[in-house]
């Protein structure tokens, strides 16, 4: 059976638990689909060549650069963005968001969503050890904080995650 290559495609996926279905150009990047087609602008574009990590979202459980995926590649996928992190409620934040706030782990905030989505996607036990944590965080650029308070925030959030902060199976 032959298949045809096309310039427009039908895309159906869920973002933050809600169904979306659009006909889009084949070349539309997932990042632009999320921001422009769906209108969730919490995902930021910092480089559009897959280095800075600002556009990181979770696709089927994995953190990915949304600027390095076509929207059509996410057809059928479950996508999560930063807008999905805080529990519902006027002032509520997730533990990691709260730790970022408490530790002054963001300044301009442009990179923050990418860090949060990377962190949301991983098993803390695999990345808890200091060098491993820095390795994990090296997939997201931040220009304001020198990373120090981000490391502090993650350490704090993850120490509360297991209640003792001591385990290291990474």
């Amino acid at each position: 059976m032959t298949i045809e290559a096309v310039s427009e495609v039908e895309v159906q996926l869920t973002i933050n638990g809600r169904n979306h279905r659009h006909r889009v150009p084949s070349r539309l990047l997932l990042s632009d689909y999320i921001r422009d087609t769906v209108g969730l602008t919490g995902t930021h574009l910092g480089c559009e060549h897959g280095y800075c990590g600002a556009c990181t979202v979770i696709v089927d459980g994995d953190a990915v650069r949304s600027c390095l995926m076509l929207a059509v590649q996410a057809d059928g996928a479950e996508v999560r963005t930063v807008e999905d992190l805080a529990p519902t409620g006027p002032d509520s934040l997730s533990p990691m968001q709260q730790a970022f706030h408490d530790n002054h782990a963001l300044q301009c905030g442009f990179c923050t969503a990418g860090f949060l989505m990377t962190l949301e996607s991983v098993d803390p036990d695999r990345w808890r050890e200091p060098e491993r944590m820095r390795e994990l965080l090296s997939g997201n650029l931040c220009r304001c904080t020198g990373y120090q308070n981000i490391v502090a925030a993650v350490s704090e959030a993850w120490s509360e995650y297991d209640g003792n902060g001591g385990s290291n199976d990474g």
Partner: protein, 807 residues
């Protein structure tokens, strides 16, 4: 202005000095920040700029027909279409004149110069059109100059035909006392130090959205550090009355100096919105950002040093030359090299400095502002000189610095260029940093004790940071003060609006803390408005480590005026003498008894609503303004060529412990120690955050980031983050930060600025530490960045094999 803080604090649990959590956080944390790229307006069109791929060329023709015929393309404009738009102002008389049109016309002088604009329904189609226009552009290439030597060669091709050479300015003071120092010195040496081309690189690129209302008023959302300055320039260039132009900076994703300039896109996008009567936007992509936002730091310093056998540095002559790129930027990027020379002596008592300042144009991206603004370049020179003299004379590097450092009893101290250090902890900071370094050095030495391939070294930097500088020398137009307006509404809520802007520093939170303490309320009761020319008074924005000082000065002025009036109202309501009425924790009462009292809501209601309750003859309303200009901030050179161009001077010490792997040249900062003094601290967490971020950018410059150009074509050899190496979390070390607080005696509440100091130390520290680590080869690094290749080249050179011999 008064240093007596307590007389201004009217809240018993004072907020100034506490790490009040930031109110700026919630938007970005939850994805609800509103950056310029997040703005959606009905019918908004997308603008893409077509940029020169030639470093120096005449544009013979631009064929736009194919692009205009594309589905979804609305319009294409070239320079000729913008004939009605004024040329960028050229306010500085002593530099070479540059005629900068909003779109380049006829000639381009760097890769990245915008010469056409496409308007389309989306960015994808606009880029399709831009690709076609680029292919349809015929250039006549001109010879290029890619660096200072090429630009200054006697027969160099000129960027500007009406200039005598590529030299934009050359200021060469002569100091007889320096001649005398050289005559009496035991020895001299000469050396050349080099800092490389870098940029601030905010994670958010630039962006402009413009919309014209039915009444003709123009609203511009710009990711700028200085909305009022953009307003003034947009109005001027588009020929509009300033009140009809509103510039808003929404949430801004960092600036670091790059967004202090008013760029062509700030003019062209509003022009397009007016021309088409449709909202238009342009969001810079990263490929553009690397060539179209200003670069910085590319300086060369040729020094002659006179010194004695005992290590005394008697005098230095320094010729500092700035590579300005094409110079086609508003404001011009000329000022940093003057700051380099003004600050070059750092925290040291060193008057015998003669500094020549030169600016040269080349076929590269225009140079401009970057956090640090010339200071790191000078610190590298001074610290390398001290280490060299120590080595040549067998003097201990630490002891020599101790001998040279400024002591408290020398304050106020006038530096060689006129900078007046009002206060500081120069010697104490160094001592404290040394204490913190000892265990770090021990740790590093024991870590590598068993690895014969690794050497460990220490590098030092003692710097001063001019804060709240004059903008007159930089722009040739604006001054250096800033305004705030404070209002208490009928319900007692407070609103503060100020000309300082917020790009991540936490100025909204800081403004709330200041107003809260001065009015005796909680920060939660204070609404803060920054970054909107319609809602905030005229101000120059945030740059030059000025936010904290300008907010403090202007909010203090405005609140004192407001409290004076409110006290009169309260006294009237309390039926007490005004002189007896005090304000504590949001309520006016007679001194000595907390009851009866009148709160802000009652005063506010009387002022705006129940005006019948006002004292007879009092004008209604409760809104006051203050325009703060530091008394001692100078904007003009004096007869001797000196100037104190900063309102105050912070200081600090950086010390780094660095390990070097000899076989591969790999280096690692093991520990980085900062002792920092920015006077009275409003919010310690925010100050610490500024230090961390500044140091990380300093490390970026010391070891990683470098815009390289092809020497033959002046074409960029970078296009992405794979070429321009922004450090990640794995490269930036843990930093240990300690503080002194030496209040600025002449500034409100003693506050100094803190935004830039972090960037200053790392180049000097890393070059010093690596040279120290490799002292067995007599390595003496003179350039940044210090890379593995540079390290190996230095070892090879010392070993006599000659770098490059194997290639």
């Amino acid at each position: 202005m008064s240093l007596d803080i307590d007389s201004h604090i009217r809240h018993s649990s004072r907020h100034i000095g506490r790490s009040v959590p930031r109110r700026e956080d919630r938007g970005p944390l939850t994805g609800k920040g509103r950056y310029v790229a997040d703005i959606r307006l009905p019918g908004m069109l997308e603008v893409v700029f077509v940029r020169s791929v030639e470093a120096h060329a005449r544009i013979v023709s631009i064929d736009t027909a194919e692009a205009e015929a594309l589905d979804g393309v609305v319009a294409v404009y070239t320079g000729a279409d913008l004939a009605e738009v004024e040329t960028f102002p050229d306010y500085i008389p002593y530099i070479g004149p540059v005629t900068q049109r909003p779109l380049a016309e006829g000639r381009v002088r760097y890769v990245g110069a915008a010469y056409a604009a496409v308007v389309a329904v989306d960015r994808y189609i606009a880029e399709d059109a831009a690709t076609l226009i680029a292919a349809g552009t015929v250039y006549e290439p001109l010879p290029t100059v890619a660096d200072l030597d090429q630009a200054l060669a006697p027969d160099a091709p000129k960027l500007f035909d009406d200039w005598d050479s590529n030299c934009s300015f050359d200021v060469a003071p002569h100091k007889p006392e320096v001649d005398e120092a050289f005559e009496h010195a035991d020895h001299t040496f000469t050396e050349t130090y080099v800092s490389q081309r870098q940029t601030g690189l905010p994670m958010e690129t630039r962006g402009v959205v413009a919309e014209v209302a039915a009444d003709g008023t123009l609203t511009v959302w710009s990711s700028t550090q200085s909305p009022h300055m953009v307003r003034t320039t947009v109005a001027l260039m588009l020929g509009m009355p300033e009140p009809q132009v509103r510039v808003i900076h929404p949430t801004v994703g960092g600036g670091f100096g790059t967004k202090t300039h008013t760029y062509p896109e700030d003019i062209v996008v509003p022009w397009i919105a007016r021309r088409l009567g449709t909202p238009a936007r342009w969001i810079e992509d990263r490929m553009e950002n690397l060539v179209a936002s200003v670069h910085a730091r590319e300086q060369r310093h040729t020094v002659e040093v006179a010194y004695d056998d005992d290590g005394t540095v008697r005098g230095v002559r320094c010729a500092s030359t700035l590579d300005m790129g094409s110079g086609e930027i508003f404001m011009p990027g000329t000022a940093p090299v003057f700051v380099t020379n003004a600050c070059i002596t750092g925290g040291y008592d060193f008057p015998n400095m003669e500094a020549r300042t030169t600016g040269v144009v080349t076929n590269k991206t225009p140079a401009g502002a970057y956090r640090g603004f010339g200071i790191p370049e000078g610190a590298l020179v001074m610290e390398r000189i001290i280490d060299r003299v120590a080595r040549l004379t067998g003097t201990d590097r630490v002891a020599l610095r101790r001998r040279m450092l400024l002591r408290p009893e020398q304050m106020p101290y006038v530096m060689h260029g006129g900078g007046r250090l009002d206060s500081g902890s120069h010697a104490e900071s160094f001592e404290r940093a040394l204490e913190l370094t000892a265990p770090a050095l021990q740790r590093a030495r024991s870590r590598y004790a068993d690895d014969p391939d690794v050497r460990v070294g220490v590098g030092y930097c003692n710097y001063v940071e001019p804060t709240s500088p004059s903008y007159h020398l930089t722009t040739g137009h604006w001054g250096g003060g800033d305004a705030a307006t404070v209002r208490v509404d009928p319900d007692g809520s407070v609103r503060v609006a100020a000309g300082v802007s917020e790009l991540g520093q936490g100025n909204v939170t800081a403004a709330a803390q200041l107003a809260a303490d001065m009015l005796g309320v909680s920060p939660d009761d204070v609404t803060v408005v920054l970054g909107d020319t319609e809602r905030a008074p005229y101000g120059l924005g945030s740059w030059g480590s000025r936010g904290a000082m300008m907010l403090t000065g202007s909010v203090l002025l405005a609140t004192e005026r407001l409290v004076d009036k409110a006290r009169k109202i309260a006294a009237h309501m309390l039926e007490a003498a005004e002189a007896d009425v005090v304000l504590t924790d949001g309520a006016f009462h007679v001194a000595g008894s907390s009851q009866p009292s009148v709160g802000w809501a009652e005063v506010g209601t009387a002022a705006w609503v129940r005006t019948v309750d006002l004292p007879e003859g009092m004008e209604a309303g409760l809104e006051t303004s203050g325009f703060y200009h530091p008394d001692n901030l100078e904007h003009q050179l004096d007869d001797t060529g000196k100037i104190n161009a900063a309102a105050s001077w912070s200081n600090g010490t950086h010390i780094g412990v660095v390990s070097v792997r000899v076989s591969t040249g790999e280096l690692r900062i093991e520990d980085y120690i900062i002792v920092h003094d920015c006077g009275t601290v409003i919010n310690p967490a925010l100050v610490e955050g500024q230090v961390h971020g500044g140091v990380a950018q300093g490390i970026a410059g010391a070891m990683y980031e470098h815009f390289q150009y092809d020497p033959d074509t002046a074409n960029p050899r970078f296009a992405s983050f794979m070429d321009y190496l922004v450090p990640t979390c794995a490269e930036v070390p843990h930093m240990e930060v300690d503080h002194f607080e030496s209040p600025a005696p002449e500034q409100p509440l003693g506050v100094k600025g803190c935004g830039e100091g972090g960037t200053v130390g790392p180049p000097a520290v890393v070059a010093g530490a690596v040279s120290d680590a490799l002292s067995e080869w007599d390595v003496d690094l003179t350039e940044c960045p210090v890379t593995p290749v540079a390290v190996r080249a230095a070892i090879r050179a010392a070993a006599g094999s000659g770098a490059g011999a194997g290639s």
